[in-house]
């Protein structure tokens, strides 16, 4: 048997310890969501002896008209899908221009992008609120789509510009000599060659928009417009808190980003560490 070095053993034990600590809240959440409220209240979620498992909390969270996760899911999808696709399409064009062309004030515009990226959401919320009110887009999903798309434009442009910078220019030059025009080069060469980066961006932006609570809370007023993160918030009553129900709702809310992460894990991780890094 191969001998395991003490340093490797120690780091493995520490890594497992951290993983368990990291996963513990999620394990607790699953346990609470799968058991009757009274049982969790009396025994605690960690006590497994004589536990009864049920899907009642999930059924209730999904379809109760007071706080329907189903309605929240539909609203979240209506907001998240266009808020992912639209900024990627627009930012890809902008990023290509920043990466390949010279134009007046290019550097100043790029610095503006960086400044926008570093701005906290809270700073923009009051002007955005009044702007949406003027546009009659307050309390409308379209308004939230507009806000998320605009907010996403800056970082997606920055991210894709860095990726386009790393693409070999000879590929585009070859297409130019082969007879392709600028738009054909962008659509037929640059975009398809950038699919892994586009998938990274899509995964991150989708997760970001889906998980957003702050903007949704500020710009959506009517409960029928609530996205899933807000619907989960409504499950908490003023005097009564059903932890089982809240846990089931939370699991529903995180399910889509989790599935997306599982499906696009490679691109997600690549997007986080950056495409220019080797690995």
């Amino acid at each position: 048997m191969a001998r395991v070095r003490p340093a490797v053993l120690l780091s493995t034990v520490i890594a497992w310890g951290l993983a368990v600590v990291w996963a513990l809240p999620f394990i607790g959440l699953v346990m609470v969501s799968l058991r009757p409220y009274s049982e969790v209240l009396i025994k605690g979620w960690w006590s497994i002896g004589g536990a009864h498992f049920t899907l009642e909390n999930f059924k209730d969270a999904w379809s109760n008209p007071m706080y329907s996760v189903e309605r929240g899911y539909i609203n979240s999808l209506i907001v998240t899908i266009p808020s992912t696709i639209a900024p990627i399409l627009i930012a890809a064009l902008a990023a290509y221009a920043f990466s390949r062309f010279s134009f007046p004030l290019k550097n100043y515009l790029f610095i503006t992008l960086l400044v926008i990226m570093s701005m906290p959401q809270q700073m923009s919320v009051i002007p955005l609120f009044f702007m949406l009110k003027e546009l009659h887009l307050l309390d409308r999903l379209a308004g939230l789509i507009l806000v998320h798309s605009s907010w996403g434009l800056a970082w997606i442009t920055f991210f894709l510009k860095n990726f386009f910078d790393s693409l070999p220019r000879e590929m585009e030059e070859a297409a130019r000599v082969d007879g392709a025009g600028e738009l054909q080069i962008f659509l037929r060469i640059v975009l398809p060659a950038s699919l892994p980066a586009l998938a990274s961006v899509a995964a991150i932006q989708f997760t970001w928009v889906w998980s957003d609570f702050f903007y949704a809370l500020m710009f959506l007023i009517s409960p029928e417009n609530y996205v899933v993160t807000l619907q989960v918030g409504t499950m908490k009553g003023q005097y009564h808190l059903d932890w089982g129900l809240l846990s089931a709702g939370s699991i529903f809310a995180m399910l889509v980003p989790l599935l997306l992460y599982a499906g696009l894990q490679k691109y997600y991780v690549r997007g986080m560490i950056g495409w220019t890094a080797k690995g």
């Binding site: 000879e170 590929m171 130019r176 000599v177 392709a180 060659a193």
Partner: protein
Amino acid sequence: MAVVELRNIVKRFGRVTAVDGVSLRIGDGEFYILLGPSGCGKTTTLRIIAGLEYPDEGKVLIDGVDVTNTEPKDRDVAMVFQNYALYPHMTVYDNIAFPLMIRRKKLGLTRSEIRERVMEVAKMLRIEDLLSRKPGQLSGGQQQRVALARALVRRPKVWLMDEPLSNLDALLRGSRRS
């Protein structure tokens, strides 16, 4: 084929003069080789003929027509790049067919005619069995043959090749030259 003429071409990159007053005339059907140490401006000269760089001084003529400021796509030249510049998301077949597909209407070619021409050039370069692969699945020599095929399939007025045979094995190199 065509006559290519360079008249007193000068190209500067900042303070560096990459091409300094080059004049030459390449006859119709002529096989012309630029030789010189690295950094002497061979690639830049080729890029100026292709239209990928515009000279600071001088003129480029193809068949007597001044193309100095003409876009590469309107010059009817094909080029093999030193690092091959294959399209990584396309199969070998699509890479070779790309120049024909992109100007299919202009050339009046059907898809089957394109297929015929791709197969012809693939056979000549012995890459018929690689047509469904992506460039990333090829060796350096195979990639170079694909780049060569992409230029040969075009039948343009001018073929420009930047170190086109450096990665080919000796046997194939001999047959390509001939």
